[in-house]
Protein backbone atom coordinates (compact mmCIF):
# COMPACT_ATOMS: atom_id res chain seq x y z
CA UNK A 1 0.00 0.00 0.00
CA UNK A 2 1.46 3.35 -0.97
CA UNK A 3 2.53 5.74 1.74
CA UNK A 4 0.18 8.72 1.72
CA UNK A 5 0.90 10.57 4.94
CA UNK A 6 3.53 11.13 7.60
CA UNK A 7 1.56 8.72 9.77
CA UNK A 8 1.91 5.94 7.19
CA UNK A 9 5.61 6.63 7.15
CA UNK A 10 5.79 6.60 10.92
CA UNK A 11 4.17 3.16 11.02
CA UNK A 12 6.89 1.70 8.80
CA UNK A 13 9.49 3.48 10.84
CA UNK A 14 8.18 2.08 14.10
CA UNK A 15 7.88 -1.40 12.67
CA UNK A 16 11.61 -1.27 11.94
CA UNK A 17 12.76 0.73 14.96
CA UNK A 18 14.39 -2.41 16.30
CA UNK A 19 17.23 -2.23 13.77
CA UNK A 20 18.06 1.38 14.66
CA UNK A 21 18.41 0.58 18.35
CA UNK A 22 20.42 -2.54 17.60
CA UNK A 23 22.80 -1.01 15.09
CA UNK A 24 23.42 2.24 16.93
CA UNK A 25 23.37 1.15 20.53
CA UNK A 26 23.29 -2.62 20.62
CA UNK A 27 19.82 -2.58 22.18
CA UNK A 28 17.06 -4.83 21.02
CA UNK A 29 13.68 -6.13 22.02
CA UNK A 30 14.45 -9.56 20.62
CA UNK A 31 17.33 -11.95 20.22
CA UNK A 32 18.00 -11.46 16.54
CA UNK A 33 21.69 -11.01 15.73
CA UNK A 34 22.74 -8.97 12.70
CA UNK A 35 25.94 -9.22 10.74
CA UNK A 36 26.46 -6.32 8.34
CA UNK A 37 28.90 -6.82 5.47
CA UNK A 38 30.31 -3.78 3.64
CA UNK A 39 29.37 -4.48 0.03
CA UNK A 40 30.31 -1.37 -1.91
CA UNK A 41 32.62 -1.62 -4.94
CA UNK A 42 35.71 -1.23 -2.77
CA UNK A 43 34.61 -3.96 -0.37
CA UNK A 44 33.69 -6.31 -3.19
CA UNK A 45 37.04 -5.63 -4.87
CA UNK A 46 38.73 -6.67 -1.66
CA UNK A 47 36.73 -9.90 -1.51
CA UNK A 48 33.52 -9.07 0.37
CA UNK A 49 31.50 -11.51 -1.73
CA UNK A 50 33.57 -14.42 -0.49
CA UNK A 51 33.25 -13.10 3.04
CA UNK A 52 29.49 -12.95 2.67
CA UNK A 53 29.31 -16.48 1.27
CA UNK A 54 31.49 -17.80 4.05
CA UNK A 55 29.37 -16.09 6.72
CA UNK A 56 26.16 -17.45 5.26
CA UNK A 57 27.60 -20.93 4.98
CA UNK A 58 28.73 -20.97 8.59
CA UNK A 59 25.31 -19.72 9.68
CA UNK A 60 23.63 -22.48 7.68
CA UNK A 61 26.04 -25.15 8.85
CA UNK A 62 25.38 -24.31 12.47
CA UNK A 63 21.64 -23.94 11.82
CA UNK A 64 21.65 -20.54 13.47
CA UNK A 65 18.20 -19.24 12.72
CA UNK A 66 18.35 -15.99 14.60
CA UNK A 67 21.18 -14.47 12.57
CA UNK A 68 20.67 -12.19 9.56
CA UNK A 69 23.58 -11.49 7.25
CA UNK A 70 22.87 -8.14 5.59
CA UNK A 71 24.74 -6.37 2.79
CA UNK A 72 25.33 -2.66 3.47
CA UNK A 73 27.37 0.12 1.87
CA UNK A 74 30.85 1.05 2.96
CA UNK A 75 31.79 2.73 6.22
CA UNK A 76 34.84 4.28 4.66
CA UNK A 77 37.53 2.05 6.13
CA UNK A 78 39.18 1.33 2.80
CA UNK A 79 42.40 0.38 4.56
CA UNK A 80 40.69 -2.61 6.14
CA UNK A 81 38.18 -3.89 3.59
CA UNK A 82 36.25 -6.13 3.69
CA UNK A 83 34.59 -4.87 6.85
CA UNK A 84 31.97 -6.63 8.93
CA UNK A 85 29.88 -5.30 11.80
CA UNK A 86 28.47 -7.65 14.39
CA UNK A 87 25.42 -6.49 16.28
CA UNK A 88 24.44 -8.81 19.09
CA UNK A 89 21.53 -7.59 21.21
CA UNK A 90 22.93 -6.47 24.50
CA UNK A 91 26.47 -5.94 23.20
CA UNK A 92 28.04 -2.81 21.83
CA UNK A 93 28.26 -3.00 18.01
CA UNK A 94 31.63 -4.36 16.97
CA UNK A 95 33.47 -3.70 13.72
CA UNK A 96 35.98 -6.08 12.17
CA UNK A 97 38.34 -5.28 9.32
CA UNK A 98 40.23 -7.38 6.77
CA UNK A 99 37.65 -10.11 7.08
CA UNK A 100 38.49 -12.86 4.64
CA UNK A 101 36.68 -16.19 4.42
CA UNK A 102 38.54 -17.64 7.36
CA UNK A 103 38.02 -14.68 9.65
CA UNK A 104 34.37 -14.73 8.61
CA UNK A 105 34.07 -18.28 9.91
CA UNK A 106 35.86 -17.27 13.05
CA UNK A 107 33.30 -14.50 13.59
CA UNK A 108 30.56 -17.09 13.68
CA UNK A 109 32.38 -19.74 15.69
CA UNK A 110 34.41 -17.60 18.03
CA UNK A 111 32.56 -14.35 18.41
CA UNK A 112 28.93 -15.36 18.10
CA UNK A 113 28.97 -18.84 19.49
CA UNK A 114 31.72 -18.48 22.07
CA UNK A 115 31.67 -14.74 22.74
CA UNK A 116 35.37 -14.41 22.07
CA UNK A 117 36.50 -11.36 20.09
CA UNK A 118 38.95 -11.72 17.24
CA UNK A 119 41.32 -9.05 18.46
CA UNK A 120 43.62 -8.75 15.49
CA UNK A 121 40.75 -7.68 13.30
CA UNK A 122 38.95 -5.28 15.58
CA UNK A 123 38.47 -1.76 14.30
CA UNK A 124 37.58 1.23 16.39
CA UNK A 125 34.62 3.31 15.44
CA UNK A 126 36.13 6.66 14.74
CA UNK A 127 33.22 8.94 14.04
CA UNK A 128 29.98 10.28 15.38
CA UNK A 129 26.88 10.55 13.23
CA UNK A 130 24.31 13.24 12.64
Amino acid sequence: MPIKSLDDLKKIREKNSRIVALRERGESSDERIEILVGMATCGIAAGARDTMISLKKAVDDMKLENISVIPVGCIGYCHSEPTVQVNIPGDAPIIYGNVDEIIAEKIIYMHILNKELIDDHLLNKIFTKA
Partner: protein
Protein backbone atom coordinates in the same frame (compact mmCIF):
# COMPACT_ATOMS: atom_id res chain seq x y z
CA UNK B 1 31.66 -1.62 -49.11
CA UNK B 2 35.20 -1.03 -48.06
CA UNK B 3 36.74 2.33 -47.53
CA UNK B 4 40.34 3.12 -46.83
CA UNK B 5 40.75 5.53 -44.01
CA UNK B 6 44.08 7.31 -43.83
CA UNK B 7 45.43 7.79 -40.40
CA UNK B 8 46.88 11.17 -39.55
CA UNK B 9 50.40 9.94 -39.02
CA UNK B 10 53.59 11.88 -39.51
CA UNK B 11 54.49 9.71 -42.52
CA UNK B 12 51.18 10.19 -44.22
CA UNK B 13 51.27 13.93 -43.77
CA UNK B 14 54.84 14.21 -44.99
CA UNK B 15 54.07 11.83 -47.83
CA UNK B 16 51.80 14.51 -49.28
CA UNK B 17 49.59 13.32 -52.09
CA UNK B 18 51.52 10.20 -52.78
CA UNK B 19 48.83 7.88 -51.58
CA UNK B 20 50.58 4.79 -52.81
CA UNK B 21 52.89 4.97 -49.83
CA UNK B 22 50.32 6.10 -47.37
CA UNK B 23 49.41 3.83 -44.52
CA UNK B 24 45.80 3.35 -43.70
CA UNK B 25 43.31 0.77 -42.68
CA UNK B 26 40.36 -0.79 -44.39
CA UNK B 27 37.06 0.10 -42.88
CA UNK B 28 34.08 -2.08 -43.55
CA UNK B 29 30.89 -0.07 -43.71
CA UNK B 30 28.63 -2.92 -44.79
CA UNK B 31 25.83 -3.03 -42.24
CA UNK B 32 24.59 -6.34 -43.66
CA UNK B 33 27.54 -8.09 -42.12
CA UNK B 34 26.36 -7.33 -38.61
CA UNK B 35 25.01 -10.21 -36.56
CA UNK B 36 21.27 -10.33 -37.27
CA UNK B 37 20.21 -11.49 -33.81
CA UNK B 38 22.14 -8.77 -32.05
CA UNK B 39 20.77 -6.16 -34.43
CA UNK B 40 17.24 -7.35 -33.72
CA UNK B 41 17.86 -6.91 -30.02
CA UNK B 42 19.31 -3.46 -30.61
CA UNK B 43 16.32 -2.52 -32.78
CA UNK B 44 13.95 -3.62 -30.11
CA UNK B 45 15.77 -1.48 -27.57
CA UNK B 46 15.83 1.59 -29.84
CA UNK B 47 12.14 1.22 -30.68
CA UNK B 48 11.29 1.18 -27.00
CA UNK B 49 12.81 4.63 -26.47
CA UNK B 50 10.70 7.78 -26.52
CA UNK B 51 13.40 10.28 -27.34
CA UNK B 52 15.71 8.31 -29.66
CA UNK B 53 18.02 11.10 -30.74
CA UNK B 54 18.44 12.33 -27.17
CA UNK B 55 19.28 8.79 -26.10
CA UNK B 56 22.19 8.25 -28.48
CA UNK B 57 24.58 7.59 -25.62
CA UNK B 58 22.28 4.94 -24.20
CA UNK B 59 21.94 3.32 -27.61
CA UNK B 60 25.71 3.20 -27.95
CA UNK B 61 26.01 1.64 -24.51
CA UNK B 62 23.56 -1.03 -25.59
CA UNK B 63 25.40 -1.56 -28.86
CA UNK B 64 28.72 -1.92 -27.12
CA UNK B 65 27.33 -4.39 -24.61
CA UNK B 66 25.91 -6.49 -27.46
CA UNK B 67 28.84 -6.38 -29.85
CA UNK B 68 31.71 -5.88 -27.44
CA UNK B 69 32.79 -2.76 -29.31
CA UNK B 70 31.42 -0.24 -31.77
CA UNK B 71 32.70 -1.10 -35.27
CA UNK B 72 32.21 1.48 -38.02
CA UNK B 73 29.39 -0.40 -39.73
CA UNK B 74 27.47 -0.53 -36.47
CA UNK B 75 27.84 3.23 -36.12
CA UNK B 76 26.46 3.64 -39.64
CA UNK B 77 23.60 1.35 -38.81
CA UNK B 78 22.69 3.34 -35.70
CA UNK B 79 22.98 6.64 -37.54
CA UNK B 80 20.50 5.51 -40.19
CA UNK B 81 18.17 3.95 -37.69
CA UNK B 82 17.73 7.12 -35.64
CA UNK B 83 18.40 9.55 -38.46
CA UNK B 84 21.49 11.32 -37.20
CA UNK B 85 24.51 11.92 -39.50
CA UNK B 86 27.13 9.17 -39.11
CA UNK B 87 29.77 11.82 -38.51
CA UNK B 88 27.81 12.96 -35.44
CA UNK B 89 27.54 9.42 -34.17
CA UNK B 90 31.25 8.94 -34.64
CA UNK B 91 31.85 12.30 -32.95
CA UNK B 92 30.08 11.04 -29.86
CA UNK B 93 31.73 7.60 -29.96
CA UNK B 94 35.20 9.08 -30.17
CA UNK B 95 34.50 11.70 -27.51
CA UNK B 96 33.77 9.36 -24.63
CA UNK B 97 36.47 7.10 -23.28
CA UNK B 98 34.00 4.36 -22.36
CA UNK B 99 33.31 3.63 -26.02
CA UNK B 100 35.77 1.64 -28.07
CA UNK B 101 36.04 1.12 -31.81
CA UNK B 102 38.55 -1.69 -31.49
CA UNK B 103 37.70 -5.33 -30.90
CA UNK B 104 38.50 -6.65 -27.47
CA UNK B 105 40.74 -9.54 -26.52
CA UNK B 106 39.42 -12.51 -24.59
CA UNK B 107 40.54 -10.92 -21.34
CA UNK B 108 40.71 -7.23 -20.61
CA UNK B 109 43.57 -6.23 -18.37
CA UNK B 110 42.79 -2.88 -16.79
CA UNK B 111 45.31 -0.90 -14.85
CA UNK B 112 43.96 1.75 -12.53
CA UNK B 113 45.57 5.09 -13.27
CA UNK B 114 43.73 6.97 -10.55
CA UNK B 115 45.87 9.27 -8.46
CA UNK B 116 46.10 6.99 -5.44
CA UNK B 117 47.37 4.16 -7.62
CA UNK B 118 49.70 6.50 -9.47
CA UNK B 119 51.48 7.73 -6.35
CA UNK B 120 51.82 4.09 -5.38
CA UNK B 121 53.61 3.29 -8.63
CA UNK B 122 50.92 2.18 -11.08
CA UNK B 123 52.82 3.81 -13.98
CA UNK B 124 55.61 1.31 -13.43
CA UNK B 125 53.16 -1.58 -13.38
CA UNK B 126 51.64 -0.20 -16.59
CA UNK B 127 55.03 -0.13 -18.32
CA UNK B 128 55.72 -3.65 -17.18
CA UNK B 129 52.34 -4.81 -18.53
CA UNK B 130 53.05 -3.20 -21.88
CA UNK B 131 56.45 -4.82 -21.98
CA UNK B 132 55.27 -8.25 -20.88
CA UNK B 133 52.31 -8.27 -23.29
CA UNK B 134 54.15 -6.43 -26.02
CA UNK B 135 51.14 -4.27 -26.70
CA UNK B 136 50.19 -0.60 -26.52
CA UNK B 137 47.44 0.91 -24.44
CA UNK B 138 43.89 0.17 -25.67
CA UNK B 139 45.14 -2.48 -28.11
CA UNK B 140 44.69 -6.19 -28.34
CA UNK B 141 47.59 -8.62 -28.21
CA UNK B 142 48.40 -10.48 -31.41
CA UNK B 143 47.04 -13.76 -30.09
CA UNK B 144 43.74 -12.05 -29.30
CA UNK B 145 44.01 -13.09 -25.68
CA UNK B 146 44.37 -9.73 -23.96
CA UNK B 147 43.40 -6.11 -24.36
CA UNK B 148 45.35 -3.67 -22.22
CA UNK B 149 43.51 -0.64 -20.96
CA UNK B 150 44.22 2.15 -18.50
CA UNK B 151 41.20 3.14 -16.49
CA UNK B 152 40.36 5.98 -14.13
CA UNK B 153 39.93 5.38 -10.46
CA UNK B 154 38.09 2.14 -9.69
CA UNK B 155 37.65 3.34 -6.14
CA UNK B 156 39.62 0.58 -4.49
CA UNK B 157 42.23 3.06 -3.27
CA UNK B 158 42.89 0.99 -0.19
CA UNK B 159 44.34 -1.70 -2.45
CA UNK B 160 46.48 0.62 -4.59
CA UNK B 161 48.01 -0.06 -7.04
CA UNK B 162 45.22 -2.07 -8.60
CA UNK B 163 45.14 -4.26 -11.71
CA UNK B 164 41.93 -5.84 -12.91
CA UNK B 165 41.72 -8.81 -15.23
CA UNK B 166 38.10 -8.82 -16.37
CA UNK B 167 36.25 -8.63 -13.04
CA UNK B 168 39.01 -10.07 -10.90
CA UNK B 169 40.78 -7.42 -8.84
CA UNK B 170 44.45 -7.72 -7.94
CA UNK B 171 45.50 -5.33 -5.19
CA UNK B 172 48.89 -4.12 -3.93
CA UNK B 173 50.43 -5.30 -7.20
CA UNK B 174 54.20 -5.18 -7.50
CA UNK B 175 56.18 -5.00 -10.75
CA UNK B 176 57.44 -8.49 -10.08
CA UNK B 177 53.85 -9.83 -9.81
CA UNK B 178 52.93 -8.87 -13.37
CA UNK B 179 54.33 -11.85 -15.24
CA UNK B 180 52.78 -14.20 -12.68
CA UNK B 181 49.32 -12.72 -13.19
CA UNK B 182 49.52 -12.89 -16.96
CA UNK B 183 50.92 -16.41 -16.88
CA UNK B 184 47.85 -17.61 -15.03
CA UNK B 185 45.55 -16.53 -17.84
CA UNK B 186 47.86 -17.74 -20.59
CA UNK B 187 47.94 -21.19 -19.04
CA UNK B 188 44.17 -21.35 -18.84
CA UNK B 189 43.95 -21.36 -22.62
Amino acid sequence: MYYTVLELTQENVEGGRNLKNAKGKFVDLDTKKLDREKIDELDEYIDSLEDQKGSLIHILHKGQSLFGYLPENLQIYISRKIDIPAAKVNGVVSFYSFFTQEPRGKHTISICMGTACFVNGSDKIFNELKRELNVENNKMTEDGLFTLKDIRCVGACGLAPVVMVDDQVYGHVKVSDVSEIIKKYREED
